[in-house]
């Protein structure tokens, strides 16, 4: 019987053949935490009595959620993370480095890897043909100290996308459409395996959007076969040697198949307060939605190409009076590329506020908390009530193109006639 990609990866790491539904104990290739989940993981490692890490070179700590720190308590917890890194020899990505998942994509994720992170969007690493999944601090503590975890082999959903995305329509729109179609729990406990001509043709920065948001459909992971585009991305970051091929068997068994014709898609907006509450931009609900703050960034859409799309729209234009534009590049590398390409100048000239790399306003504790009754349109991956620090505010999700043009008009706007 043919195997899905997750069955292959889990099988390799369990040292035995596995099928969906089975439990397995697996070796972990990379375990990581961020500054809001790391302190608890470290205290659990101590509680469990571990003194040394099995493979410190495959453990990473990222200070990205409150970065630079936003409160004295958090600054103090950062001290503990730095000490742990120093004492154990694991990797530390401190203030200024960027969002954990973005850096994992640039520097650490490899095809065939099994990756565990104490952050729900760890699933983004699946774009490389890895099994990457988010877990809580205690599970990741076990993986950090022990180098292993236990898993249920997820049943796989085959997402087959055909047709060419229209100009002005992106992977973000495709993923919001998919989540709207299957629901916020439509892929609970499952693997979303992305195949078909459209996703094959997507560049890595767009594949990463799809796998990043797999969790927003409840999935354990999202995964792509590796190919020439994976190889080129790894080569761009000096990691060509990390490339390996992975693909599902032609007769792999899927629990469900979902077919999407990408050519039919319009830009999609997720309305408050759930990611599956979507509308196509031509829907009457999208007319005259005024926006107080635009936030462009995050692990979902804070890559150079996203900033470039936004800058091309914002160039020579100005943010609407009464609307704020906040931009936070995903990583140091992206920040520097954007600086060198003149994008940051364009943002500042347009009236935007550019922050240092990190999670920025997304987790709700800094640099862009919303006021009572305010509406934010963002490139983020989730729009839950209170997400951006105020339960009395409203978050809409969209692509960087929709966000950029809406910054100029001050209301949700279709980008297609501007690009």
């Amino acid at each position: 019987m043919g195997k899905t990609m997750v069955e292959k990866i889990i099988g390799k790491h369990a040292g035995k053949e596995v099928v969906a539904g089975e439990l397995a104990i697996v070796d972990v290739d990379l375990a990581y935490v961020q500054d809001w989940t790391g302190p608890l993981a470290i205290s659990q490692i101590r509680e469990m009595g571990f003194k040394e890490l099995k493979r410190p070179e495959r453990v990473a700590i990222f200070i990205d959620h409150s970065s630079p720190s936003s409160a004295k308590e958090i600054a103090t917890s950062h001290i503990g993370l730095r000490e742990f890194a120093r004492n154990t020899g694991c990797k530390l990505f401190d203030v200024g480095s960027g969002v954990c998942h973005v850096i994992v994509a640039e520097k650490l994720a490899r095809p065939w890897d099994l990756i565990i992170g104490a952050d729900s969007h760890t699933c983004m690493g699946g774009a490389f043909g890895a099994l990457a999944t988010g877990m809580g601090s205690t599970d990741v503590a076990v993986a950090i100290a022990f180098g292993k975890t236990w898993l249920k082999v997820p049943a796989a959903v085959k997402v087959e996308v055909k047709g060419k995305l229209q100009k002005g329509v992106y992977a973000k729109d495709l993923m919001l459409y998919l989540i709207g179609k299957i629901g916020a729990d439509g892929a609970s406990y499952k693997s979303l395996e992305f195949v078909g001509e459209t996703t094959e043709n997507l560049p890595m920065h767009e594949r990463l959007v799809l796998t990043n948001m797999a969790i927003e459909a409840g999935a354990k992971c999202g995964i792509f076969p590796s190919d020439i585009k994976t190889k080129a991305y790894l080569a761009e970051y000096g990691r060509e040697g990390d490339y390996k091929e992975i693909a599902p068997d032609p007769d792999a068994v899927y629990e469900r198949k979902i077919e999407i014709d990408a050519s039919m898609l319009e830009p999609i907006i997720a309305f408050p307060h759930t990611v599956d509450n979507v509308r196509a931009i031509s829907h009457p609900d999208c007319a005259d939605v005024s926006i107080d703050q635009i936030y462009i960034g995050t692990c979902t859409n804070g890559r150079f190409e996203d900033l470039k799309v936004a800058a091309d729209i914002l160039k020579g234009r100005h943010v609407k009076e009464g609307t704020r534009l906040v931009i936070t590049p995903g990583s140091k590398d992206i920040y520097q590329k954007a600086m060198r390409a003149g994008l940051l100048d364009i943002f500042v000239e347009a009236g935007g506020a550019v922050n240092s790399p990190g999670c920025g306003a997304c987790p709700g504790a800094q640099t862009g908390i919303l006021g009572d009754g305010e509406k934010c349109l963002s490139t983020m991956n989730r729009n839950f009530k209170g997400r951006m620090g105020n339960p009395n505010s409203f978050i809409y999700l969209a692509s960087p193109a929709v966000c950029a043009i809406s910054a100029i008009t001050g209301k949700i706007t279709d980008p297609r006639r501007f690009i």
Partner: protein
Amino acid sequence: MIQKGRAWKFNDNISTDLIAPGRYAHLRSNLPELAKHTLEDARADFAPNVKKGDFVVGSRNFGLGSSREHAAIIIKMCGTSAVIAKSFARIFFRNCINIGLPVIEVDTDKIDDGDILELDLQKGVLLNTTKGTSFTFPPLPTIMTAILSEGGMVEYLKNHGDLVLKA
């Protein structure tokens, strides 16, 4: 052991942002303080009034969103006997087991806010004494039962020294 308490009913899609809001991230190093805000944005009356033994009763997709284990921890710190829902988001479900908080999937449409519930975890039976109804639920995988019954992952690893799938 039978646990008894009242049901605190919640809607579909209770996210970890509602359970443990990001604006209180600085309190993660002070869990008793953070626990005072448990589920605050979903039901402000929960944390000040919940009693030891009570049950958090969700609906569909309880615990979706971020991996923050603090969400499970502070629900437990409030004295909650168990979280009951029609369905759970997977990371939250696993976090509850890892910290020794029972999670039970039953049709919670048949439980109203304020109903008195009795849980017998070993037998796999939940009674709604207010309505005179009962629910049965299937056992967890062996490794999860062991982690839960031993008080969580820390105790489990201290006891076994390793992860073992079968007892």
